[in-house]
């Protein structure tokens, strides 16, 4: 049933401190809303459990992208459009810029935010595998202070996160050490725009004389959380690219993932595609890796 707007409260605090105070006063009662591309869908359908919302769209601290010598710090309420248009992100963090370009159509990219994608914690979100391979770190903030959490430890289960009831994601920080890596991103879905992925891959790596170094593989839609393929990475690192290695990697991928069958795809199809995408990257690495 359609929601009645009179049943919902929406407040727009002027600054971050006021947002955090509300979250602290009544933990778990308030739901932050930025661009609304997820929250408003649930709301319209009458399926939003929270009745109190805090508007964080207009909080300037959450919209900044700060470029430091060692890191880039992306405010949690930065939109996909902002990511795509940012010079350093589109040059040195191509996997993130590409994923941003796949996320919905232009109207959704103008409103959807990276922090929202992380907090919403969908295992099918296109930008999350990129954050895994770039070693993203999150700053979580509350009235108690701020703490840093490695993004790989943030998702604790299907749609479960390490975010405490009074905390907000403040920024996403990426180390600037991957500019020279070969990179590869692929989304497999029913269509390129709008469709939610059946499987998506973000991969980074280096290769010299056909030997793989520091390969990083992450997949979306193949497990309850966005998944880094550590066992497959371990199997590949330090080894020479040849057919037997690629075949071993395919097997390892299939063993490491935990895909489900749902309305978008079957588990078997997802496993086959996941293995193909990783194999495709290794082949690409053999050709391009030496330029890095």
């Amino acid at each position: 049933m359609r929601a009645d707007p009179a049943d919902y409260k929406l407040v727009s605090p002027r600054n971050l401190q006021a947002v955090l105070s509300l979250l602290a006063d009544e933990p778990s009662q308030w739901l932050p809303i930025a661009g609304g591309t997820d929250v408003m869908v649930l709301y319209s359908a009458g399926k939003l459990p929270n009745r109190k919302l805090i508007d964080i769209w207009g909080i300037p601290e959450l919209r900044q992208i700060e470029v430091l010598p060692e890191r880039i710090r992306i405010g949690a309420a930065c939109t996909y459009t902002a990511l795509r248009r940012h010079e350093i992100i589109s040059r040195d963090f191509r996997l993130l810029a590409l994923a941003a370009s796949w996320t919905g159509g232009i109207a959704n990219q103008n409103r959807g935010t990276l922090g929202g994608n992380i907090a919403n914690a969908s295992p099918a979100a296109d930008s999350l595998p990129a954050l895994l391979v770039y070693d993203a770190e999150l700053t979580l903030i509350s009235v108690r202070g701020e703490r840093r959490v490695a993004y790989r430890n943030f998702h604790t289960g299907y749609k479960k996160t390490a975010l405490a009831a009074d905390e907000l994601i403040q920024d996403i920080s990426l180390p600037r050490k991957f500019a020279g890596y070969a990179s590869h991103a692929r989304k497999v879905g029913a269509r390129n725009a709008q469709a939610i992925s059946k499987v998506c891959l973000a991969a980074l790596g280096q290769c010299a004389d056909s030997v793989i170094r520091d390969v990083r593989l992450a997949l979306g839609s193949v497990a309850p959380v966005p998944l880094r393929l550590q066992e497959t990475e371990h199997l590949l690192n330090g080894n020479k690219i040849e057919l037997s290695l690629i075949n071993a990697a395919r097997k390892s991928v299939m063993k490491e993932i935990r895909p489900i069958g749902d309305i978008r795809s079957s588990a078997r199809y997802r496993a086959a595609v996941a293995a193909n995408l990783v194999a495709e990257f290794i082949e690409k690495l053999a050709v391009e890796g030496t330029y890095a």
Binding site: G36, S44, A107
Partner: protein, 165 residues
Amino acid sequence: MNASLEKSAKREVSFIVNGEEKILFAHPMERLLDVLRNDLGLTGAKEGCGEGECGSCSVLLDGMLVNSCLVPVAQASGASIITIEGISTHGLMSPLQQAFLKCGGAQCGICTPGMILAAVHLLEKEPEPALSDIREGLAGNLCRCTGYMQIFEAVARAAQLRMAK
């Protein structure tokens, strides 16, 4: 639902719509789409899917293309909004609208307002779009009549006319 919950009060919202200042009272979580259609009588923006997938409710919010079904009206407070009604001048179609007419880009008309606004947004950023730019710029707008080719053609034609001027 929970009957003991307090109801939220309507609050004053003011913004500029198609160049005119509008002040009204609305619940903060009312969707911008509903306020435009029901309170302001601007029925050009349509509700298709109601979940940000079809683009038929597209408007420009401070120059940015948005799905107005996903914007709580409180977030539009103080903003400048352009709807399809603000695209023509003195009842005359804009060159983009004329191109849609000429190329057969509008058939049943449900998607057309959103398509036009997505195209306006695209041409602002990219005055000489390649076909791939047009396809990407309009990818969030679904049409079940035209098969899209006439729409792409209309946008390309409008871009050429603009550049020729």
